[in-house]
């Protein structure tokens, strides 16, 4: 039988991806870190999330990795992709070479394989920097009254910084944070910049200086700009860091 025209159109050759995953289970005393290689057929518009899910379903059910939203909003799937931090769900395999090496984000407590406890780090940072609205005389606020209005431009600015999903990529991309465990990183300093903008927060620059005016805060930053270059949400981190540094330096004088 003669092939129909449709059958003569050559199909795009799909690649076989070689995915090397750094595996280790710290809860198992017999486990030691090692690379395990998986091979899968690449599909159209395949993300690393899809690839990892397929590996777990068809090849190794013990593979640990975190996902919730698969849309770049929850911040769970940060990992090192060929040495660079990024979100697995937002990374298309077609943008990567045939061999893809995955490792857990450095700088965080390892739960197992690609799963790290970013939440613990973020919680510690949040408690240390007190990243919530501070308001004097809070008992006197009438919670039945209509909230004070905010200019749309200011609300936009706040929202821009609030977009941080605490995925930990900026910490993994930061040489300073990798060297100094107590450095609060771009995730922390971005939070300070966010609450500094917020008119509902009555803290002054002197208060913020107490929190980040030292080597573990804004003056510890060496401007390596890994945070700026690897933030999956494209937050304006270099801008915020330079701005906060100027404000805190003025406060310190």
């Amino acid at each position: 039988m003669k092939p129909t025209p449709m059958q003569t159109i050559p199909l795009k050759q799909s690649r076989t991806l070689r995915i090397e995953i750094l595996r280790h289970n710290p809860a198992d005393p017999d486990s030691h870190p090692h690379l395990q290689v998986f091979e899968i057929e690449e599909a159209e518009t395949m993300t690393l999330f899809i690839a990892l899910t397929e590996i777990r379903q068809t090849q190794d059910a013990s593979l640990q990795f975190d996902f919730v939203c698969r849309a770049g909003i929850c911040g769970s799937c940060g990992m090192l992709i060929n040495g660079r931090p990024g979100l697995a769900c937002r990374t298309l395999t077609r943008e990567l070479p045939d061999t893809i090496r995955l490792a857990p984000l450095p700088g965080f407590e390892l739960i197992g394989d690609l799963s790290v406890n970013t939440g613990k780090w973020m919680r510690g940072m949040s408690e240390r920097l007190e990243t919530w609205v501070h308001r004097e005389n809070i008992e006197a606020i009438d919670i039945d009254a209509v909230e004070q209005r905010m200019a749309p431009e200011l609300a936009e600015q706040l929202y821009e910084l609030e977009r941080c999903i605490e995925c930990g990529c900026c910490i993994a991309a930061c040489g300073t944070a990798q060297m100094h465990e107590d450095f609060v990183g771009a995730a922390g300093l971005n939070q300070i910049a966010r609450f500094r903008l917020d008119p509902r927060d009555t803290r002054s620059d002197a208060d913020y200086y107490e929190l980040v005016g030292d080597e573990s805060g804004v003056f510890g930053c060496m401007t390596l700009l890994g945070c700026e270059d690897y933030c999956p949400k494209n937050l304006p981190l270099a801008v915020q860091l330079a701005f906060l540094r100027r404000k805190m330096a003025r406060q310190g004088l």
Binding site: G83, L224, L225, D229, A242
Partner: protein
């Protein structure tokens, strides 16, 4: 403070390049610049101590800058391992630039100190012949060639990083400012390497031609046979 001391040193080094390259305009131009720093144009006679004093100020600034920079370096084995693992893994341009600054900075601690101590101890040994003799017959060109490359790479990277650190970044201009500053820094480094390289080659040439008369000082208008009738 580290940034401020670095900025002052960068400005000094860049100005230094223009003064030392006066040799490209001829021996008389270089002699005029030498006389300027020895106070001849003010006091009527040379006071080389002024040069020593200036070198001392730069040396102290360098010591301060180096001392402050030391805080940034990995001090413990864990930190050292962490930053090297990170560098090998991420292949990130700006992190690598910082590392280049660490390496050149370490080299400069010795190279720049050697240069400054020489100037402090022999402030009168600067001049069209005196400098050239030191560079050629005294083999100081080895020191100066290494110093030229390391100091300009270090200063250019420092300039870029300072702008990114404190600069007037806004959300709208950040990417463009970064790109332009990077281009400008590369251009500046290239320019000073060419200018410094040409000056060093000129001093080497004069020193080579003057090798038989080491120690003799340049007097304007003399030795027309040696300096090609200038």
């Amino acid at each position: 403070m580290q940034g401020l001391s670095g900025l002052l040193l960068v400005l000094f080094v860049w100005a230094h390049m223009f003064f030392e390259s006066s040799i490209l305009l001829g021996k008389d131009a270089m002699l005029w610049v030498t006389h300027m720093f020895e106070g001849v144009h003010v006091f009527g006679e040379p006071y080389p101590q002024l040069v020593s004093a200036a070198a001392l100020v730069v040396f102290l600034l360098l010591a301060l800058h180096a001392g402050l920079a030391l805080r940034r370096l990995p001090a413990r084995a864990r930190e050292y391992r962490a930053i090297h693992t990170h560098l090998r893994s991420i292949h990130h341009a700006d992190t690598t630039v910082w590392y280049v600054q660490v390496v050149t900075g370490f080299a400069l601690f010795f190279l720049a100190s050697a240069h400054l101590i020489q100037v402090m101890l022999q402030p009168d040994a600067i001049g069209p012949y005196a400098s050239s003799d030191r560079i050629w017959s005294g083999r100081f060109w080895i020191l100066y060639a290494l110093l030229l490359i390391t100091v300009h790479v270090h200063a250019g990277a420092g300039f870029y990083r300072l702008v990114m650190k404190w600069g007037p970044l806004t959300a709208a201009n950040a990417a463009a400012l970064r790109r332009r500053t990077r281009t400008l820094a590369i251009f500046i480094v290239g320019f000073f390497l060419l200018l410094g390289g040409a000056s060093l080659a000129t001093y080497m040439k004069i020193g080579y031609e003057h090798r038989a008369l080491v120690g003799e000082r340049y007097v304007p208008g003399s030795h027309a046979d040696l300096n090609g009738g200038e």
